[in-house]
């Protein structure tokens, strides 16, 4: 009785829209002009009102399944003309609880799986490479090395550093007008490829604003190719720019593929079609190989995913860094969020929530979650759409997917409602046509997948709610995946990395129950699992690092790991905290922690490398000295933070030298 009344009472308290708008304005840093502000205010109010009407609207239920539509059309249908776009957009309810995708984060998500054939090949080069998911498919990162030079993105520019001398030889910076923010890079032979975003707030400079086009933030994603034959003088070779915010990219041989997502505000389509300028909604791009002028795609070039509720353009660009052929740009209406790429195919997934019931306290009551998978063949810098498929549930990140011998394997967590007790976990095997031919469902009911790793004919899956079962799944018969074994341990792994065919390293967290019966994290943990006998996997060794509050980027981003079996190095950046009284934690250390691993003796701590001393928690914390990556060249470890690069001898763990980086002033 009491609870209901209290809840009802609290429900009556609402945040007024004025406060919301003010807050949104402040945190999204849009420029404020008096008259613009009122337009923005009214448009946000309109937006909010539209949303609150749109959300309870029942989705247009087609009797034909979306995959059937695709098949009928011999592929994806095209938009053909602006009227079609208009009609599609008009019918979509774009709530702020958009269904475009599973958890997105601002950096990579962790967990890599590798194709079995070249998994344990010995590296000929004596320098570290980015920890990628698939051999032969490079992933961009904030730092790369070619064994002699280090290329690193720090405070809006790229610096090229001679590694042995620890001296900066050049830098690539961007002036304010360009508004280009470099995000990650690739290097290949004598080329450096930088991918970044440009933000344009087109309309906030206009004094007289048409109420149909209120302030929109317009992001563009650009790939810039530099010739770095002369390290002291990098030369911009080529630029390819597409609309939208950067989702991800891959590089296979000399071909770069990058993807951006451009959001379209649906409330604009509430206006009459005559009032809208169809040119505005054509996807635009630039390719310096063709020229400097902006080009646009026509409506009969744009494909759409029929079942998608999403109102974004997914722009995919592919180009070869060495030839002067024009880039291949494709646009699809309907977005995607997670991608997985093998050497031959790119898979883009999209989560769709169906059959939503009324919202209760912001959470949908009963729904179906499905992940749609779109397969694109990658060849000669062209990404060609091939097939679509779907499976129940949603993926965790790129490591939830894997391709082997043409089969596509995907692990999902399926929920029926916001109550996580109905969660189940599944693994599906799809053939080349993305038809499900094998599956395991209903694993670990009530738990969610925390990490997945595909290694050849096996899959390792970690689910968790209170204890962590590590499942070993056999995939040698694609039509019949079987759970071979299970290991239940407290804590969980967020990232699984193969050590060799029979051993896996898990990076994760310890957990404990607090005094209220809830499960909380209790420091980080690194463990070695022995899966020689898959029906009884074992935890051979484990190391506890820090206490509650301890965090490392490896928990969310596989690229933060430096691992070399040959050099016997496992290094991650980490912030180590300790508990201090109830609820409180105190930071004790930030830097790199370096371990060796011996199958007979376990993990041994080689040492730590820090760029700053932590004396009093986060007081005086210097973010420019926060170690974010570790790489090695020959026998030196290089730790990188925005303001400093340090070189340490791998064997003695003695400091060899430092390079201070001059930073621009903060934004």
């Amino acid at each position: 009785m009491k609870k209901k009344e209290y809840v009802d009472a609290v429900n009556e308290i609402k945040v007024d829209n004025d406060l919301k708008e003010r807050t949104i304005n402040k945190i999204t840093q849009s420029k404020k002009h008096k008259n613009i502000y009122s337009i923005l205010a009214s448009s946000i109010i309109v937006f909010v009102i539209v949303i609150s009407i749109a959300i309870p609207m029942i989705n247009n239920k087609n009797k034909v399944t979306p995959i059937e539509i695709v098949e009928q059309n011999n592929g994806l249908p095209k938009l053909e003309n602006f009227e079609n776009l208009y009609n599609i957009m008009k019918n979509k309810s774009s709530g702020l609880y958009e269904t475009n995708g599973s958890f997105v984060s601002f950096t990579d998500s962790a967990a890599s799986s590798e194709t079995s054939s070249s998994e344990f090949e010995k590296d000929e080069d004596d320098y570290s490479k980015t920890n990628v998911q698939v051999d032969g498919v490079d992933e961009a990162d904030i730092v790369k090395t070619d064994g002699s030079y280090i290329y690193y993105i720090t405070s809006g520019e790229i610096i090229i550093v001679n590694a042995t001398e620890l001296k900066k030889v050049s830098e690539i910076s961007y002036n304010e007008d360009e508004k280009f923010n470099p995000l990650e890079l690739y290097i290949r032979n004598n080329k450096l490829i930088v991918i970044g975003q440009k933000e344009n707030n087109y309309y906030d400079d206009l004094m007289a604003v048409d109420t149909i086009y209120p302030i929109q933030r317009d992001s563009h994603t650009t790939a810039k190719v530099y010739n770095i034959e002369n390290k002291a003088n990098p030369k911009l070779d080529r630029e390819v720019e597409i609309e939208g915010s950067y989702i991800s990219s891959r590089m296979i041989d000399d071909n770069v593929y990058f993807i951006a997502d451009k959001y379209i505000y649906t409330y604009i389509f509430k206006a009459d079609i005559e009032k809208l300028d169809e040119e505005m909604f054509k996807p635009k791009y630039t390719d310096t190989v063709i020229g400097n002028e902006e080009k646009c795609l026509q409506y009969n070039d744009i494909y759409y995913f029929p079942e998608s509720d999403d109102t974004s353009y997914l722009n995919i660009a592919g180009f070869n860094i060495n030839n002067n052929e024009k880039a291949n740009i494709n646009t699809y209406l309907g977005a995607g969020s997670d991608i997985y790429s093998s050497q031959k195919n790119l898979y883009i997934t999209r989560v769709e929530y169906e059959d939503e019931d009324e919202r209760v306290y912001g959470y949908y009551n009963n729904y179906d979650v499905n992940t749609y998978i779109y397969k694109f063949k990658l060849e000669d810098s062209k990404a060609t759409y091939e097939k679509a498929g779907s499976v129940p549930g949603k993926v965790l990140n790129q490591f939830s997917m894997d391709e082997k011998d043409g089969y596509f394997r995907i692990a999902t967590t399926d929920s029926q409602s916001w109550n996580s007790k109905t969660d189940t976990n599944n693994l599906y095997v799809l053939n080349e046509n993305l038809e499900t031919i094998g599956k395991i469902e209903n694993l670990a009911k009530g738990e969610k997948i925390y990490s997945v790793r595909f290694m050849g004919n096996r899959a390792y899956m970690v689910t968790f709610v209170e204890t962590d079962p590590l499942f070993v799944i056999d995939l040698s018969n694609p039509e019949n995946p079987i759970v071979l074994g299970e290991l239940k341990i407290p804590g969980y792994s967020k990232y699984l990395h193969p050590y060799d065919e029979n051993h896996i390293i898990g990076f994760g967290e310890n957990t404990k129950t607090n005094q209220y019966g809830g499960v909380v994290t209790d420091g980080m943990k690194m463990a070695l699992f022995d899966v020689t006998n898959p029906s009884s996997p074992k935890e051979l060794y484990s190391v506890d690092i820090g206490e509650k509050g301890t965090y490392s980027e490896i928990l969310n981003n596989h690229k933060a790991l430096l691992f070399s079996k040959e050099k016997n190095i496992i290094a991650i950046p980490i912030s180590i905290s300790e508990e201090e009284g109830n609820y409180r934690t105190k930071l004790k250390f930030q830097g790199a922690i370096v371990y060796g691993l011996d199958l007979d003796k376990g993990f041994n701590l080689k040492g730590t490398i820090a760029h700053m001393q932590i004396t009093d928690g986060y007081i005086d914390y210097d973010y420019t000295k926060e170690v974010e990556r570790i790489i090695y060249i020959n026998d030196s470890l290089y730790t990188l933070s925005k303001g400093l690069i340090k070189s340490t001898d791998i064997n003695t763990m003695q400091e060899q030298g430092i390079l201070e980086i001059e930073l621009e002033s903060d934004e």
Partner: protein
């Protein structure tokens, strides 16, 4: 690597958690004015830190934690404001709701928070 338009993300977060944060701030500070300050501060911190959340529970827990911290900081620095009583300026549809809300509001801070988080936020 997943990137999403930062501004869109922030707008979404404001829409999603506005009420939750404001209501919790109100329970802690018992003042609309202070709650507005706390509300803004929480979103500033989110925008500045942009933490990566492992799950929705984690996301929510982080925001609750920050709301409680900000409320605490605000009250510590605004000791005098805190001393003044909360005006009965929130109106409710039924007397029962009015009575129970203000009854809970009378309780000491720790108990108010527990009741609010337990009953309302689970």
């Amino acid at each position: 690597m997943e990137y999403i338009d930062k501004n869109r993300y922030l707008e979404r977060m404001v829409e999603k958690y506005s009420d939750m944060i404001y209501r919790l701030a109100l329970v802690r500070t018992r003042s609309r004015e202070n709650s507005e300050d706390v509300y803004q501060e929480v979103f500033f911190r989110l925008a500045k830190k942009l933490p990566q959340f492992e799950s929705e529970e984690h996301e929510k827990a982080w925001l609750i934690r920050v709301t409680i911290n900000c409320s605490k900081n605000l009250l510590n620095s605004n000791y005098l404001k805190y001393k003044s009583e909360m005006k009965e300026d929130i109106t409710f549809e039924t007397k029962e709701r009015h009575d129970i809300y203000y009854a809970v509001e009378e309780l000491p801070l720790k108990y108010r928070t527990i009741i609010h988080l337990y009953y309302y936020e689970n």
